[in-house]
Symmetry: C2
Subunit: 586 residues, 2 copies
C-alpha cells in the first residue's frame, strides 16, 4: 500500500499511525461521522459521568480536589487521557501520547500523598499537556518535522533523543503535574494554522470546517475539548493567543524571560531580535495564574540563564485587586484603551461585534474608555516580519530538507534576503525606537484618565477572523506588533460567530487590497460557531496586573452574557440590561 | 600654524582647545612639570582647605551634608569644578566642561531647599560626571570621534544636537544631581585604554607613565583625582571595571537592563548578542549603592523600553547584610570562589599578590574559599570577541570615516568576516549554552560549601596588569567572559604595585605566547604605584547582594591593610596579624 509514496510520506504515515496506536484499544473509536461541533454534548457521549465531571473542571478546581484527596491523581489522569484520546481522533491534536507513563506518575503522587499527607506541589495530580517543543523522556519531539522523528532535533544518533527533558518539564514534575501528551504544532511553527505532514491538519473542535489556529493549535483544540485542563504553548507572533482565541480558551503571553525556555526545541533558535516566549493556556484565567505562579515558585532563573529573577509579585497582584475593588465605588479608577482594528485589516463581523460588546460593557460600567490608535501597529508588524525572515528561511528549510518533505500550504517561510549582522543591528535599533514610541504614546494617556495614570490595559482583537477557514490565515498583524513590543497579553473568549447576527451587510472602507480580500472571505454560514477571543494587553512584565484585570473583565463579560442576572451581579456594577441579550457564553 | 595639518587634525585641535578654554582662566595652570603621581598632595596644592575637605568626601558624605544644608550645592559644585579643571590639565580626562550650567543648577537647588525645606532628591547637590556617551543639553557628545563634533552622533543638521538629553540624564536631574562635565572615552569605545584624536591620551593619575584604562578611562582618572565624587560609565567588555581597577576606585557593572541606556550614544548600536550596560563609578562602595538605588527610584522601566521592572530590592540587601552579620559567629556561612588567573594570561606580580592577599584574608577569617575553575573563561572571551566584531567593524569604521581621522594605536576594530543573520543566531545559541554551562558549574558548588548553597561570589583579577603601560593593553579576557555571562560585578581597589615587593622573580609556566609576551612586559620600576583592583562577581541581577558583599570585603581589606589595628577590628573577625604588613591602602 506504500507504493508510489516517497520515503518521507511513509515515515510521516508510520508516525501518524504510531500516535494512533499509542491510544489504548479501549479508547479507539471507529467509523466516526462527527458533526462540525464536537465539543460539549458530542464528546461527552464517549465518557461516563464521572469522567465528564472531572474533565470539565478547571485546573484550579482539580488541584483543590487532588490536594484534598477528594479525587486521586490516577482517576483524574485517566479521565483526561481518555478524553484526550477521543479529542485526537476528532481533530488531530496530538503528537505524542504517553498515558502509561502519566498513570505511573499519578500513582506515585497518590502514594506520596497517602504516605506523607502532603501534596507534592501546587500542581499535585494535575494533568498538563505540552506543545511539541518540550522534550519529555521516552518520546519524540518532532515539532511536526518528519526529519526529526527518532532524532534529537533532527540530529541522528544524538544520545539526548528521548532522554533529556526541558527545564519547564523538570519544574512541572517538581510541582506535581502529570504530563500525559504533547500537542500538535505546524511545520516551522511560523503559522496561524496547525498543519504538518505527520498529523496533517488540526481542526477546530467548535467547527471542524475551521482551523484550530497556530502555532499552539493542538494545545488550543485539546483544551476546547477539555482533553486537558491546562498546558503550555509558545508565542513568537501570536502562537499562544491565536489558538486561545480560535478555540474559546484562555492564554497568557508573558514578556520574554519570565517562563523558562531552556532546553526546549525551537524554530530559528538564536534569533534574538524577537524572542519566542512560553506561556500557559487553560480553560479559565484563574488556571493561567495557577500555572504561571507555580512555575515561578521553581525559580527558573536559577536554571535557565535567560530567565529573569522576577518571582510572582504578590504586591502587584494585590494592588490590582484593590484597584478593581475600589472601582466598584469609583469606576473611573480603571481606564482602558480600545483598539477595534489595526488599521491594516478590518476584523470580520463577529470580531467587530465582540470589540463593540467589550467596549459597551466597560463604558456602561463607567470605566474610562479611550480610543486607542491603530497607527502604530503596522510598523510593529513589519519589524516582526523582518525578524522572522532575517536568515532568509535557512534554518526552517534545513529542517525540512532533512526528510525532503513537502511544505504544507499554511507554512510561512520568510522570503527576505539574508540580513548581515549590520542589518540585524539596524533592525534592533528600529525595534527599540518603535518600543519607545509606543511607550511614550501609552504614557501620554495619563492626560485622558481620571486618575492621571496612563491606561491600565489595551483591548484589541486577536485576529481579524474568528477561527479561520483552513488556508485563509494571512494576517498576523493583530498579534505580531505585541511581540515586537514584548507586551504581556492575556486572551479571553468573548463570543461565537453567529450566522443570524454576524452578517456582512456594511463592508467597511477598505484600507488596502489585503483588507478587501480578507473581508470578502467572511462567510456567515461557514464561520457559524467559531469562537472569538480578544486580547487584554499590558506593558512589559505586567503579568500579575493583566491576569487580575483579565479575571475581572471575564467576570464582567460573563455577567453581561448571562441571561439570568437577577441577584448575581456582585462581580460587576451598573449593568445595562439592553446589552445582555446579544451574547452567548460557553 | 595649521599648515600641513589635515582637516580632521585641525578640527580635533580646535575642539581640544575649546575644552581647555571652557575652564575659567582663574583655574588654568601653566608650565606644569608634574610628577608621575599627581593624586593626593600634588593636586591638593591647587586647592584651598575647604575645597580639599569637600572634594575628598565621598558621595554619601556629600549628600548628607547637602541634604542637611551644612554644605550648599553651589560650594560643593564649585569645589569639584575647580578640582576637575585641574585634573583635566594633568591627565586629559574631560571631553565636555559646563561648569556655568552646573553652578546655575546648584543655585536652583539651594534656592529650592531654602524655599521648601526639602532636598530635590537623594542626590541633592551631588556633582555627577558622565562618560561622553550621554547627551546633555548645551554641549557636544563626541565619544572621541572628530566626525561627531557639532553633530548629533555624526549626523549634521540634526536638530537633536546639543538639545536632547539621555534618559539617565533626565533621571539624574530629577534626583537633584549636578552635572558638570563629561569624561573622555577612546575612539570606538572598544579599548582598555583611553585615546582619541581630540584629547589624545588619558593618563593614570597615580602614575602618569601608565594608562587610565578604558573605555570609561576619563571617568576613572577624574575619580582618582577626586575631581568628581561619582559618575557613570558603560561596560561591554570591561569598560567600567578596567578603569575602576586601574585608577583605584570602585565600579559596578550591573546586568543588562537595570540602568537606563535609552537615548545614550553607543558603538555598534543594535548589536544585541552582548549588550553594553551602564553602571556607577565612585570613590566608595557605599556611593555605588547610593547612585544605583537613586536611579532605580526613578523607575527607568517606565521610560526606557529595554529597562527591566526591577526596583531596588531591599529584601535581598537586608538578607545579605544579615548573612554577613551571622558570619561573624559562623564564618563558613559565606563562601567564595577564588580564580587567581583566567587560564589564558597570567597576571603580573602585583595582581597575583592582590589575589593571594584577598584569598588569605577570606581564609584567615574562616570563610569557605573554593578554587574556581579558569577553564570556562576562554570560551566566554571568544564569544564576546565575535559579538564585538560581527559586523566586521563597519559601524566603527563609518564613524571614523566621517572625518577621515587616523586610528589611535590602542583602538580595537573587529577584523572578523561580516556575519550573516544565521551566524549571529548561531553565536546567540553558543552564548546561551555557555551561560548554562557556567550556571551549572556555579550551582554545583553547593557540594563544597558548609551551607549547601552555591558560593556567594567569585573573586578574580580585573586584568592581568595593574594600570597598564600605554599601548600594551592586549588581553581583556578577565572581563569579557563576564559580559558574555551578563554577571553582576563590583570592582574594588586592593593595593598598588610596589617595585620593592612585586618583582617578577619566578615567571610562571606560560599558557601560550601571549601569556609570555604579557608577562615579559612587566616592569617593576615603571609599574610602581599602579593601582590594583579585583572583581567580585555575582550571578545575573544580583546587584543588591554583590554591593553588600563588596562593602564587607572592602571593610575587611581595609582592616587587614591598616597597620594600627588595635581596638578597631569590629568589621572583621579573626585577624591574623602576619597578613597585615603586606599592603598599603589609599
Amino acid at each position: 500500500m506504500d507504493k508510489g509514496k516517497s520515503t518521507w510520506q511513509k515515515a510521516a504515515e508510520a508516525k501518524r499511525q504510531a500516535i494512533l496506536e499509542a491510544i489504548p484499544p479501549k479508547w479507539r473509536v471507529q467509523h466516526l461521522t462527527p458533526p462540525n461541533d464536537v465539543t460539549g454534548t458530542y464528546i461527552q457521549r464517549f465518557l461516563n459521568p464521572r469522567e465528564i465531571e472531572i474533565t470539565e473542571a478547571d485546573a484550579v478546581s482539580i488541584t483543590t480536589q487532588t490536594n484534598s484527596r477528594k479525587w486521586t491523581a490516577v482517576e483524574v489522569t485517566e479521565a483526561f487521557c481518555h478524553r484526550a484520546a477521543i479529542a485526537h481522533q476528532l481533530v488531530n491534536c496530538l503528537h505524542e501520547i504517553f498515558f502509561e507513563d502519566a498513570l505511573k506518575v499519578a500513582k506515585e503522587l497518590d502514594d506520596h500523598l497517602a504516605a506523607t499527607g502532603k501534596p507534592k506541589g501546587p500542581l499535585h495530580g494535575l494533568p498538563v499537556s505540552l506543545k511539541d517543543q518540550f522534550h519529555v523522556k521516552g518520546v519524540d519531539t518532532t515539532m511536526g518535522y518528519v526529519g526529526w522523528i527518532g532524532t534529537f532535533q533532527g540530529r541522528k544518533d544524538d544520545s539526548r533523543a528521548r532522554v533529556v527533558e526541558s527545564e519547564l518539564v523538570r519544574e512541572l514534575r517538581n510541582l506535581g503535574a502529570v504530563l500525559f501528551c504533547k500537542t500538535s504544532a505546524p511545520l516551522t511553527l511560523m503559522s496561524g494554522e496547525t498543519a504538518n505532514n505527520i498529523i496533517e491538519y488540526t481542526y477546530n473542535p467548535n467547527n471542524r470546517l475551521l482551523s484550530s489556529g497556530g502555532s499552539s493549535g493542538g494545545e488550543g483544540a485539546l483544551l476546547a475539548l477539555r482533553g486537558s485542563p491546562a498546558g503550555f504553548g509558545t508565542d513568537i507572533g501570536g502562537s499562544i493567543r491565536i489558538p486561545a482565541a480560535f478555540n474559546g480558551v484562555f492564554g497568557l503571553r508573558p514578556s520574554a524571560g519570565r517562563m523558562p525556555y531552556e532546553g526546549a526545541a525551537n524554530s530559528i533558535d538564536g534569533q534574538n531580535t524577537i524572542l519566542s516566549v512560553i506561556g500557559p493556556m487553560a480553560t479559565s484565567v484563574e488556571s493561567l495564574r495557577l500555572l504561571f505562579k507555580a512555575v515561578l515558585s521553581q525559580k527558573p532563573w536559577l536554571h535557565d540563564p535567560l530567565a529573569l529573577p522576577l518571582p510572582w509579585r504578590n504586591d502587584i497582584d494585590m494592588k490590582t485587586q484593590k484597584l478593581i475593588e475600589a472601582s466598584a465605588r469609583d469606576p473611573s479608577l480603571l481606564a482602558f484603551g480600545i483598539m477595534p482594528h489595526d488599521g491594516v485589516v478590518h476584523p470580520h463581523p463577529p470580531v467587530e461585534e465582540a470589540m463593540t460588546f467589550i467596549k459597551d460593557i466597560l463604558q456602561d460600567m463607567g470605566h474610562r474608555v479611550i480610543d486607542w490608535t491603530p497607527e502604530l501597529c503596522k510598523e510593529g508588524q513589519i519589524i516582526a516580519d523582518k525578524a522572522y525572515s532575517m536568515d532568509s528561511g535557512e534554518d526552517l528549510l534545513s529542517h525540512i530538507a532533512l526528510s525532503g518533505e513537502a511544505l504544507p500550504l499554511q507554512s510561512f517561510i520568510g522570503k527576505s534576503k539574508h540580513f548581515n549582522a549590520g542589518e540585524v543591528a539596524e533592525l534592533n535599533v528600529q525595534k527599540r525606537e518603535y518600543m519607545k514610541k509606543y511607550m511614550d504614546y501609552w504614557n501620554r494617556t495619563n492626560d485622558m484618565t481620571a486618575t492621571r495614570r496612563p491606561v491600565d490595559a489595551i483591548i484589541c482583537p486577536t485576529a481579524p477572523y474568528a477561527a479561520v477557514i483552513p488556508g485563509k490565515f494571512c494576517h498576523s498583524g493583530y498579534t505580531t506588533f505585541i511581540n515586537t513590543l514584548d507586551y504581556t497579553t492575556v486572551v479571553i473568549p468573548i463570543t461565537f460567530a453567529d450566522k443570524e447576527v454576524h452578517t456582512a451587510e456594511d463592508p467597511p472602507q477598505f484600507f488596502n487590497q489585503l483588507d478587501q480580500k480578507v473581508y470578502s472571505e467572511y462567510n456567515a454560514e461557514i464561520y457559524h460557531g467559531a469562537p472569538v477571543g480578544i486580547q487584554i494587553v499590558g506593558k512589559r512584565y505586567e503579568e500579575e496586573k493583566i491576569l487580575a484585570l483579565a479575571e475581572y473583565i471575564t467576570r464582567c463579560v460573563k455577567m453581561y452574557s448571562d441571561e439570568d442576572l437577577e441577584g448575581s451581579n456582585s462581580g460587576c456594577h451598573g449593568i445595562d440590561s439592553s446589552l445582555l441579550s446579544r451574547q452567548r457564553w460557553v
